[in-house]
Symmetry: C2
Subunit: 414 residues, 2 copies
Amino acid sequence: MRRNCFIGQSGGPTVAINASLAGIISKCQEEDYDHIYGMINGIKGLLENHYVDLNEIFTDDHKIRQLKESPAMYLGSCRYKLPVSEEAPDIYQTLFDKFAKLEITDFYYIGGNDSMDTVAKLSTYGKMINSPVRFVGIPKTIDNDLMGTDHTPGFGSAAKYVASSMLEVYYDSAIYKLNAVTIVEIMGRNAGWLTASSALARENGAPVPDLIYLPEVPFDKDQFLADIHEKFKEKSSIIIAVSEGIKDEEGHYLDQDSKYTKRDAFGHVLHSGTGKVLESLVYNEFHCKVRSIELNVLQRCAMHIASKTDIDEAYEIGTYAVERALKGESGIMIVVHRLSNSPYKMECATLDVNQVANLEHKIPVDWISESHNDITPALHDYLYPLIQGEITIHYNSGIPQYIDIAHLRNKMIK
Amino acid sequence: MRRNCFIGQSGGPTVAINASLAGIISKCQEEDYDHIYGMINGIKGLLENHYVDLNEIFTDDHKIRQLKESPAMYLGSCRYKLPVSEEAPDIYQTLFDKFAKLEITDFYYIGGNDSMDTVAKLSTYGKMINSPVRFVGIPKTIDNDLMGTDHTPGFGSAAKYVASSMLEVYYDSAIYKLNAVTIVEIMGRNAGWLTASSALARENGAPVPDLIYLPEVPFDKDQFLADIHEKFKEKSSIIIAVSEGIKDEEGHYLDQDSKYTKRDAFGHVLHSGTGKVLESLVYNEFHCKVRSIELNVLQRCAMHIASKTDIDEAYEIGTYAVERALKGESGIMIVVHRLSNSPYKMECATLDVNQVANLEHKIPVDWISESHNDITPALHDYLYPLIQGEITIHYNSGIPQYIDIAHLRNKMIK
């Protein structure tokens, strides 16, 4: 029997999403797929007929390995919400006609919440019309906010970057004994997993961060300043980890709400980062040295300090996805079950993708300290295994040598 | 003959400054120094009698090696401008009495411009009173702005971080084909060396940054927008490297001058980073996706991606400083002479510290492209060797294992 598949990537970048792609390609090649088509810019690109045959590009193990260890998204991404089939039957018709014409047997889609929504809709429609295509979702997101899986590929590496950066910021800030506050703003709009990971900086003795503020509990400005007053009694240099998405008691985001915005010289509203808003708060209260650091996109693209555990799992999840499709499963997302923390053991499993799409996995409140400014040992034990191990990055001319993306860039769509 | 020395660190952190300290300690131990005193918080700490005997701490090669590969400043820092002896004779009296009492033969001071000023003043005073102490300055600064040396320890590692981060930001930003501008703000107030280093991201084929703006030439807002218009003709995603310290034609800093500041809801002036100011400019012109990324302190403390060339040189410069002091030299700064670019060869030398203190080493204008938005091949060839090679960082529990600084932190002064 001939086997042909489509693979796509969608949503925001992580350093593990290419590892899952590498796992899928490698397993498909092992299983003698005739064509392994890569959608350029996800489902949106596919609708415009943009795809490549990955068998022609990945002709040896070295290339697959290089893909596994390259950041972001080799195939490009899209942010596209597939309408329901009742509203846009022509889109579904176009896609399934293409599948039929190319004799597609499997459809692999790597992404976050919106991507799982795409997989759910396509598989539902496919069942309705008795399409032979199997639809499999492969999770990824640095935010770790997908339901039904112990954690998501991409999160462990971002967490390792956050913890290591927090450690290095500590060394940088420890050179004076002046009263100083350093605020590190970390990604995660509604889920604080990544911010919580900054606590892993403590592993080798660095006593930071001093305070951690997560979006799962309301942010209280007065308590925040009281917390700093309290810390200043014991030490002079205070480092604070804060999620970009913290909200006050009334639900106002600190970084977006008009209550906290600034205006430029012309009166235009300027949105400022959460870190900058807190910087002003701290300065106005303490008049001490204060600095805010936004880790920004580096936390999701710094492949050079990726977690081996994360990258290896992302690859394994890719190969597992192909195994399940070969067994005839469809409408599923691959998930990770944790068997034990120490030693860390996990296994792959599957879940009905309809059960996970459009839900958010947040930190359970009982994993946050009662004071709402730190994590509990249970959360530490959950996070710890995910950042373990380093991968060997190949450097050339002093910088990492990642897979070439220039020729695919030219095929990308607007 | 007994030999005792003081070693101090001063100014801002780099990842190479502890390597120079390790080189000095190692060489002093080899030369059987009786006491190797480390000033806590530099000359300011010394004035308050804060110092430790490093022989008691660095009892084996492993510890020295760990110091060599740890970021920031093991001994702590100070920002203290030593007054001239005519104005503060008591300070000099205090210091030289201490030197005499402890039978100090050598004084090693690792730092930037202000630190070299300290070395110059102390050596001048020492000569005047016939003190036997030799004063030797060891350079460091990520800004690479010290005169008289081909480059400064700490710069190469920061440059490697900047180039690698630029590369990773490229992968992150290349996933869509939407019109987008990413602005990366890099340290360097008056000298653009670090910002120029972002061009080394091109080594392995990544075509970024698209535009580079340096503080050595005036920043023209209209030309800047015209440059982006021009780039948008060829590509959709544009990445710009910009020095924090660019100034317009009239000498206004973009990030400090009232002309560019914002006001908060209460009318207070809020200083914004250069990247944020440019972000507004670009958005108002193009109404496209625009993001600014401030590399912030990570560029000076990210030991985990240090340049081996830089760390090894910093260590060598430390050992060389001891050699010169043993030969009786004083009032000198150790400098690096470049013998060739390819293969890269350097040698250590010395310079009268009075010739270098308080001068700034900027990029020669003929090393900047005529269009003022890129570097020339000559500047590339200068930068390239300095980021070569990687050091093996020891990881423990998923994060780097750096030297413990907690017990010295307790000795630090306000």
